[in-house]
Point group: D2
Chain length 393, copies 4
């Protein structure tokens, strides 16, 4: 089996050209038999992709539907928005749209960003637990120096604090940064490495070893620590919906919605979910693809805390808290061709916009929660998928 | 604020046309000021999108880089593959490629699908716990009838069994189906609804209420129950790598890789992660976007179990188990223009291919685990991102 | 420091005598300076302790208070019970007593045992995942033989089924037994070892290694798998309490109790608890000490699922589900002097009583949930501890 | 069924007398038919029980075996200890004793207390998330005042800091105290209530409601937040054991012990345990009963983090971290008759001893981990229980 390993062609001079992409398209066609006709149909100059992808060969064309108007009463997002959702799942856009209508009629979604922190989590190993404890104290004493070393590597990253978790002869640290409009994983990694270098040079105790990451960040993974201590933005969307409006628009009784919520809460708790809500990942993923986010962060961004109450007057208070929403309006994929356009459609392209985007995402998610919740209760769920989803199999 | 709500235009006759899309592009441009030049540049006939998206307006163009060859020794995937990865995160393709080279030289990745089941999880409510228990027994007795009612609604869905979890006066059920080459969420929902209808008609006890879903499935959410009991495919990728090869290709010592693994295991356990590995979500997400999967399923598909050992001879055994990998080669977005081409490049388009795709995904993930793990240990991680990632902020 | 290691004296002829105990009391007095006057005051013949403790030196005298009457409407426990609670925590007995009065007036507690299974969880290791999968199939085929081998070692243990969980090249099994009136950890261990011996002899594939336990049982540890799949008894206690009765007896409004419940549910979910209720461990521990249970099983027995609802008429439905309650009325410490008397006071000593005991424990727990919940809401909690608890510091 | 409810007799004058206890013994005998001969055999004056129990009727006599010498190299515990273990589980004392011998020969157990904090966790509710966020800021600003209000109620409690966790329109706070030699739940509750009273009076924003506890403490429950952020003492026990010593004393190969550890780690992670070690609850519970701890705290104290490594020279480094060990040497049950004697046998009675006790508990737990781990690997486990445990069923 192991004859010559056929490498994917690269152009050592400049690999970000249509020619280089074509040579790879030809290579794929030759080795696999697959013609990449549509993959090859992209509308931008590959030169913009440096830093975004290697071995660029073409594009995935993911359908975008817009939903809206979404009425947001945020501190950063104010007014009506039309939300681009990139998805191939039938019903998704229609469902979010339906929820947006309900919350529009209810007066809009109030949104609040509660916290903001991105981290890298090095682990430091010592001869025994006492040395690890002494090191933890030293970290506190020299925090200003450590911050200076870290921030020297970045314009937008600011080291806020260092969370410390100890076990055995190891100190796990979460270096918590704010990262401006970037998602910030890379700048956080670089700044934390610089901090670690400074620590290695300056710590007068015996540091046996350190690893720059220790599964405590926890990048691209759901975790309780991120639910508790935030990763990216911690954002809340909330609304109060008149009882009759739910009945009129969603054909669902508040009391039944509420009972379904109680049962879901118990089910989710027993199942060990990271999200006691309905399906926040759907809206988040579709917005992430459309707006050039790091879509793999759906792993942690899909955690959510639903808290709802039937008010004494019978109206329905609903809220969703997303404790680890990782978004950017600068860097990563946000400047690419279609991604930038979608950010512009939300008024969220560029500097100073990331909180606004976080609020719009959270408001969108809340609309989806109500729409799916109502559909389950009104027993319209499967019918909706029969109507909008292809349901081929 | 609440003047007239401006609705997104739809064409009641046929909404899946270039004209309909253009009217929405114009609407977005007018209401938001954003020109959707690139979003509008798609290469296929919108007619194919029925059942995949509503309010179709254009596409997200997500860059695809190919990595490979990936050498797979599976039961369904055999030989060399070039893997399309849709991403805007610099370094990702290069990193997976590097891992693929290592495992190619090591003789390839062995892959095994251990289990296959997709579920919908209705909850049944009763007057008290005893009635819930009696109902659970009745479900067992009438399983054949329930299966018949469920399977009448679908060609490819087969009800395997019903997992039952009880608490209070509620019985939570997981109806476990195999779903052929489809991911199967929709067919599972429809079949389970039919089963519930049959149950309501035929159960002679007093069923107070039921909900078709109870947060026990747990669709679009990470959960312990899915890690334990499988959702989608449960698939393992494993390999044994000669000690010297790791040193030569990855500039990392096995002993240090191993120690980093131990520390990560502890860190992850303390942090409460759903994945004790490195970053499976990266490879999974990039493949999901490229091949038309339901990308929101990254929420549960990103759970992973890394198990590794240094063998007596010093070689390194590594494995990754993905307990809830949700993939399809039929239905959903798999038939769209670029998505189908990418599946074809893997030899995975259409019927009878879903296990093959699951194996290729798992093998890809394992390559990424080794690449990132080695980079952290060799302290090349940040440098690699400086080289390949734009790292603008 | 490491001079001669002074061993605790033992009598090789018969170590379960007052003389042997006295020689150890003298040894402790001599080496530590502590006189064990009260520890030495036990009222039974040490000969009964064989199989219960080694190096017997005396007893802990743990105060017992009785609470009751507890009115139970169970399938095994029927009528009024006075419950022995061994504790040194002021307020505990008073609080449970208060809850018992409330539920007495409300008509009693309905109890139901939903499931019964005790397990040992061996892990089987193979060369690769495929062999592990083949072994899993073989286990199913040969289940009857395996059961026969297991049951040959025990009179009361019955192997119900084997739960299988796979990852990497390992198959984790939960051998689920019913164990009569014993808690059953020992008999389960012995029977599972016999089953493993039979497997080793008869499996024609290549079994690399096995371990009799793999942290999947999960003995003396809380775990999601036990919450989902039961360990010991899975038992529910439920009641409906008239709205006015809560007001009258607990000085608490149902609506406030209910809101506190919602907030606790969210708090617990975010905190990552194994119990969304209030303090089941208090009642369980006190009953376990009094009745000779293996008190270390509080680790898993303290998991609980609270589900409550305000009914349309304003009454309050409350329930607690204990998914892994480990109790015995035979074997272990149940036959010791005071322990047996406490079981007799409950009518639970000896054969055929274990379900009754499980029901009484669950009913007791429910009373405590309501008492503490009400106290928090009525802001009597700290005052109660000031009254009943010494609160010395 | 609901005829007259027969109340347990109480003496309104003085309920802590032998007479009062006898009247209850008679009541129990009369209503249940059970004679409490041994329960009635206690050796102390009931007057000492005020604040420890209500409705005192007698005692549970729990057998105590001593294990040792345990060689501890702590910061607070130094030298050899003989450890009282109150249990009715055969093999337990022998097993801990065996582990103590191993670690004695290996040079003893190094112990370190990493952290110390006891908490009460009120929740504060507001009209919306923004008000909750503003309140969080205010808490920081007025921390000194809040501390003063809290500490005014207690001599030994010191408010260290307030952890804040937000979701929806609720702020969950963990008020973290050091509590001297007391476990501190009561004083923490009282001090936090005083702090809440001060807050209610002084907060100029609109606080809708607050609850003194919100399931975030998480008293008597295992939780991830306690594993991460400590409850009670966070204590480590560690040791390095020569390879040959394990072979000689435990008849186990380090390599096999190590492999069992890896498999257990994976099993536990998949099972969702709160403890990746073996059985810390056994030693902790037995010491808690013997020394007058609040035994219900086994629920959280049983969480543990095992971290081990085979060193380059083949020796075995082992450690256990107990992140939420709740112990006291003052208050609660520590001053009772037998309990005090057991504390004295450890040199741990009274003020200034609580860290010493925490270290001895952790060292004991580590010994038990090695003993059970070795027994499983050497396949002596079931045999040991056959020898020492009665194994009646």
């Amino acid at each position: 089996m192991e004859q010559a390993r056929k490498r994917i062609p690269r152009d050592p001079e400049d690999d970000y050209t249509r020619d280089a992409a074509e040579s790879r398209q030809a290579f794929v066609a030759e080795t696999t038999g697959a013609k990449l006709e549509h993959v090859s149909s992209y509308s931008f100059d590959p030169a913009i992709l440096q830093g975004n992808v290697e071995n660029f060969t073409g594009v995935a064309q993911v359908p975008i539907g817009f939903a809206g108007p979404l009425l947001v009463d945020g501190e950063h997002a104010q007014g009506e928005f039309y939300v681009p959702l990139a998805t191939a799942e039938g019903t998704l856009v229609a469902s979010y749209n339906r929820g947006m209508r309900l919350l529009y009629e209810a007066g809009g979604v109030k949104t609040t960003v509660l916290d903001d922190r991105m981290q890298r989590a090095p682990a430091f190993l010592f001869a025994d637990a006492r040395e690890a404890r002494a090191f933890a104290d030293w970290i506190d004493e020299r925090f200003d120096d450590i911050r200076e070393a870290a921030e020297a590597t970045t314009r937008s990253g600011k080291l806020q604090d260092i969370d410390k978790y100890s076990a055995s002869r190891i100190l796990f640290c979460r270096f918590n940064f704010t990262t401006g409009d970037a998602a910030g994983q890379n700048l956080t990694g670089k700044a934390t490495q610089a901090a670690c270098d400074w620590i290695k040079e300056n710590y007068d105790g015996a540091l046996e070893h350190h690893f720059l990451e220790s599964n405590f960040a926890t990048d691209k993974k759901s975790s309780q620590v991120n639910i508790l201590r935030t990763r990216g933005k911690r954002v809340v969307a909330e609304a109060t919906i008149p009882r009759d409006l739910i009945k009129e628009l969603m054909h669902a009784e508040v009391d039944m919605l509420w009972r379904a919520r109680l049962v879901s809460n118990l089910g989710g708790f027993m199942a060990g979910v990271n999200n006691n809500g309905a399906h926040s990942a759907n809206g988040i993923t579709a917005m992430f693809i459309a707006t050039g986010q790091d879509v793999a962060n759906v792993a942690e961004s899909s955690a959510a805390l639903n808290f709802s109450e039937v008010l004494p007057n019978g109206d329905y208070y609903v809220s969703i808290t997303i404790p680890s929403l990782i978004v950017a309006t600068y860097g990563g994929g946000t400047g690419l061709a279609t991604q930038r356009e979608c950010l512009e459609a939300l008024g969220c392209y560029g500097k100073g916009k990331v909180m606004k985007l976080a609020e719009i995402v959270a408001a969108t998610v809340l609309c989806g929660e109500l729409s799916l919740g109502s559909a389950i209760v009104a027993e319209q769920w499967v019918d909706a998928h029969d109507l909008h989803g292809r349901n081929r199999p």
